[in-house]
């Protein structure tokens, strides 16, 4: 069909008209671009106003325009506006092109002649481009109502419950034998000091009993196929060696198991478990796991004590790993964090001096259900510390380790200080760079600590040593620190040192990100779609993140994100289907020779190769429309909607239409 293009130059009040001679530009376009199909060219005070939009719609109808170019502000601002205007006039919205003569012309140039000249170039570029715009319709993909939640910490639990309570099915995958995550290891939670287990356990039980939740503990995601709305997730269920249908969780097996194993996971190395075990009494599910690395039977082929004593014959040494595939529409990643390894700072003496503890060790130490039944004692198991030093920012806010602030350590340190003070009456020193308590009730808690007489020393600890310079230091751990408030070096002898190790992304977060096709920040935290306006979505449609996997945060924030992610997922499920921007690549199978150059060019695995036909194909739902494969295809067999070669090549022509006059200052016009 012959082009009938309408060109609309916006004054944007004086924003554009103040610098660009808009009347001149529209007149020029009307005359000089007529041969390209411009049938009408107008300028108007505010194109984005309803009147301006009606102007376009009126022309579309009366002049039966089949293409529209608006020269106004940045497409990021009003592209949708004008596309919708065209839609309103039954013109396919993608036949409308918005070119920016404000952000990229009138606002950044002062020379009016030059700016006007450039505006003409930009408009002519838009006109030549729009000629090649195609009618497009957003792709619609159905949304599978089920959801996968990875990670059974508090964020994952919250997300799973929200969705399940709304009546949709959830698969909750947890690596460990029980859900609960780090929160289950804590004793008290700041600032309210309510017992962690007391508030967490009911939620865990809800998850365990929820009809809409399929709980897959001791399991890991192996493979993710498909795309938003239609993921096929392959999950490996590691063998428990327990027939859960028979197991009652009575606990006889782990009573009878003769094999003690140091528990480096839940007890953080502070206590032992058996070779057959549940990580902690309130574990969900209640079924134990036989740890085949340490179990005597698996090592020596004898023992089987658990089997002998199990009242329901639920032990099954033959059990093997099971791989299942589930269909889900959306995925929430809540895989949490690792603790910074305090060994990396040798001068702090962790693992060199017995009485230097990490924060997680201390959580277990003061936990009523922990190895000492909540008694705060030194490693010897009896001595109660008289002075305790709490070192903040261990591995955080330090460019040698992690430059970022771990967010939770200040409050955690204060909590520890309180617990030590309360239970032992010991003198407590907090060594801090800054105290950061920016949340509801946090500052109050800080003040409470100050009133309790906890000592605060502002300075980064230089070292923890066991060397005594003066008799008072004998047999103590000496904390060397510069007290920056009095400008003096201080040596403070203590009995116990607690290192507030920072939070780190999971050691395997890179692999997990790859698995789910999302990206990591420099510190390997998962990157959200927008740091402020879209904190739980990712760049990959249908994959959301919640909790510390996105960055260090405390329990309230993690719960909030879990709920937020759930809300986003529910929103998608409710829509039943989602529309994807139709900017996509397609491969012409006849022209594709199967050279496979494009095959590793797509980070979203949208390009698949058909061995038999020897051609590659783009999955439109996975394709994000970046166009890298289009540019990379040696055969020119890949074309892209919205940014086709024709569109861009013509736009170049258009932009250069005027450059025969080799000057930004126009000679004609």
């Amino acid at each position: 069909m012959t082009e009938r293009i309408g060109v609309y130059i916006c004054h944007c009040g004086t924003n554009i008209a103040g610098v660009v001679d808009v009347a001149n530009v529209s007149k020029w376009a009307g005359e000089k671009l007529a041969d390209q199909g411009v049938v009408i060219s107008r300028d108007y005070k505010f194109m984005c106003s309803s009147l301006g939009q009606e102007l376009i719609q009126k022309d579309i109808k009366e002049q039966n325009l089949n293409r529209v170019v608006v020269a106004a502000c940045s497409p990021h601002l009003h592209e949708k506006t004008f596309r919708n205007a065209c839609k309103g006039a039954d013109l396919n919205p993608y036949l409308c092109e918005l070119v920016s003569i404000r952000e990229q012309d009138s606002w950044v140039h002062t020379d009016k002649a030059a700016a006007t000249f450039k505006a003409k170039a930009i408009v002519s570029g838009g006109v030549s481009r729009v000629v090649h715009n195609e009618e497009l319709t957003p792709l619609k993909v159905p949304i599978h109502p089920a959801t996968l939640v990875v990670g059974g910490g508090i964020a994952g639990i919250q997300a799973a419950l929200e969705i399940a309570d709304a009546g949709f099915h959830v698969y909750l995958v947890e690596r460990e034998p029980s859900i609960g995550g780090h929160m289950a290891q804590f004793d008290k939670t700041f600032p309210t000091l309510d017992c962690s287990a007391c508030i967490l356990t009911p939620k865990m039980v809800d998850v365990g009993n929820h009809p809409n939740i399929t709980l897959l503990t001791w399991s890991e995601v192996q493979k993710v196929d498909g795309y938003v709305g239609n993921f096929a997730v392959t999950i490996k269920k590691k063998p428990r060696y327990i027939k859960i249908e028979d197991c009652t969780g009575c606990g006889i097996c782990w009573e009878k198991c003769p094999k003690k194993v140091l528990d480096t996971v839940f007890e953080a190395g502070m206590g032992n478990r058996k070779a057959v075990y549940v990580p902690f009494p309130q574990a969900v599910p209640k079924y134990p796991v036989i740890d085949d690395v340490n179990c005597t039977y698996f090592l020596k082929g004898t023992c089987k004590a658990c089997e002998k004593f199990c009242p329901t014959n639920a032990i099954d040494f033959k059990q093997e790993a099971e791989v299942i595939t589930v269909e889900v529409g959306n995925i929430i990643l809540a895989t949490g964090y690792d603790l910074f390894d305090a060994r990396r700072i040798p001068q702090y003496g962790y693992a060199r001096f017995a009485n230097v503890y990490t924060n997680l060790e201390f959580e277990r130490l003061c936990n009523a259900a922990g190895p000492t039944g909540g008694n705060i004692v030194l490693r010897d198991g009896k001595t109660v510390p008289k002075t305790v030093g709490i070192v903040h920012c261990v591995g955080s806010r330090d460019k040698n380790y992690n430059a970022y602030c771990s967010a939770i350590c200040c409050m955690q340190g204060l909590k520890f200080a309180h617990l030590v003070h309360e239970r032992t009456g010991a003198e407590v020193y907090n060594f801090y760079i800054d105290i950061r308590t920016p949340s509801k009730g946090y500052e109050e808690f800080y003040n409470r600590l100050l009133e309790e007489g906890t000592r605060f020393v502002r300075g980064k600890v230089a070292e923890v040593s066991d060397f005594a310079r003066v008799p008072e230091e004998e047999g103590k751990l000496v904390i060397q620190v510069e007290d920056t408030l009095i400008g003096k070096q201080r040596r403070i002898p203590v009995d116990m040192v607690i290192l507030s190790s920072g939070l780190q992304s999971r050691h395997d977060s890179k692999d997990v990100a790859k698995l789910f096709g999302i990206s990591c920040s420099a510190d390997n935290w998962f990157i959200e779609r927008h740091p402020k306006l879209d904190p739980v979505a990712t760049m990959t449609e249908g994959v959301f993140i919640a909790g510390c996997v996105q960055g260090p945060k405390d329990i309230p924030a993690s719960v909030a994100q879990g709920a937020a992610a759930a809300a986003r997922v529910l929103g998608k499920i409710q829509q039943k289907e989602i529309a994807l921007e139709p900017v996509r690549a397609t491969i012409n199978a006849d022209q594709c020779s199967g050279c496979r150059i494009c095959n590793n060019m797509c980070p979203f695995n949208a390009i698949l190769f058909h061995e038999n036909e020897m051609v590659s194909e783009v999955n439109p739902a996975l394709c994000q429309g970046c166009g890298t494969c289009i540019a990379g295809c040696p055969a020119g067999a890949i074309s892209g909607t919205g940014f086709s070669n024709d569109q861009i090549l013509s736009q170049i022509d258009g932009l250069l239409l005027l450059n025969i006059l080799k000057a930004a200052v126009p000679v004609e016009s």
Binding site: D590, C595, P634
Partner: protein
């Protein structure tokens, strides 16, 4: 009724195309049976004035090979266009410039210097040809070189393109069959501007070598490497132009262990042949570090030559800056 007229002309090219035409064996008899050869300087004596005398459009089919290097080439191009119903850009030179087009890397005077003033030429007095020279008998002239070589469609309107250096004989035969069938009303001519006598995919389509996902850590020259005979050459770091080159040759070179150098030109709809290869090769380089990337690229000794061996005159830039200055 008299047979339709056939013509073939040889401009800036090597003559391989003519031989390729004669190389279609007994099919050449069909040509004779179905056509009157009106004008074919290589095959039979003919004078330009005879052609000039012909009625416009009286030649049915003209196979033009060679690029436009001088004013004579251009003159005949215009002439034959006028006289022919169907003008076919025959062979790589006519379609995209081919090897003669590589001269577009150098200014014309350098080309002349190389021809007349280098060790390979015995020219002690450094005599140069002149476009016109006064003799007692009068002025004698030879064609004047243009600054750069142009493809046929850069000077005249072309009906069909037939790529290849030279076009494969089986493809020529097929095309002649087609034309004859059209004459007999048994077939339709393809749409104007179409590429005939070739496939519309690329060489890989016909290449038997095994292919995997590509990542290139190092480019090497085939004569310096022991290439796996089964495996895609490009994957072995050998710059093979196959992925970007139009199919139709049955992957002749790749099947016998040499990389494709691209004589069949760009695939359907491609604007700039070299750009496709630049983009494709670069995309699969296995590094994100600028200096490392440069190190890998050092393996491509002559990128422009690699990517534009046949296509320089037909490319977007057409020639080097120095050549343009003449």
């Amino acid at each position: 009724m008299s047979k339709p007229k056939f013509a073939m002309y040889w401009a800036a090219s090597c003559g391989g195309c003519e031989i390729a035409v004669l190389n279609i064996h007994e099919k050449i008899l069909d040509v004779d049976a179905n056509f009157d050869v009106a004008f074919w300087p290589v095959a039979m004596d003919a004078k330009y004035k005879d052609v000039e005398a012909m009625e416009d459009g009286s030649i049915l089919l003209t196979l033009w090979n060679g690029g436009i290097r001088n004013d004579e080439n251009e003159h005949i191009a215009h002439l034959l266009r006028k006289k022919s119903k169907i003008l076919v850009a025959f062979g790589s030179c006519a379609c995209e410039g081919c090897i003669p087009g590589l001269a577009n890397f150098s200014p014309v005077n350098e080309i002349v210097d190389t021809a007349f003033s280098t060790i390979t030429t015995d020219n002690p007095d450094n005599i140069r040809p002149q476009s016109s020279f006064a003799m007692p008998e009068g002025n004698i002239t030879i064609p004047t070189l243009y600054p750069v070589l142009r493809t046929l469609d850069q000077v005249e309107d072309v009906d069909y393109y037939m790529p290849g250096c030279p076009p494969e004989s089986h493809q020529i035969a097929a095309v002649i069959d087609l034309v004859i069938q059209v004459l007999q009303g048994k077939a339709e001519l393809p749409p104007k501007g179409a590429t005939i006598g070739a496939g519309n995919s690329t060489v890989c389509d016909e290449c038997p070598r095994k292919r995997n996902v590509k990542t290139i850590k190092e480019f090497g020259r085939i004569q310096l490497t022991h290439a796996d005979p089964e495996l895609c050459l490009l994957e072995q770091g050998i710059p093979c132009n196959g992925p970007a080159t139009r199919s139709g040759c049955n992957a002749r070179c790749a099947t016998v262990g040499a990389q494709c150098i691209g004589c069949y030109g760009p695939a359907e709809g491609v604007v700039d042949y070299g750009a496709r290869l630049i983009s494709a090769f670069a995309s699969v380089i296995d590094s994100n570090k600028p200096d490392e990337i440069d190190k890998i690229l050092d393996g491509l000794v002559d990128p422009a030559g690699q990517f534009y061996r046949f296509n320089l005159a037909g490319s977007l830039l057409r020639s080097s800056k120095s050549a343009q200055k003449g």
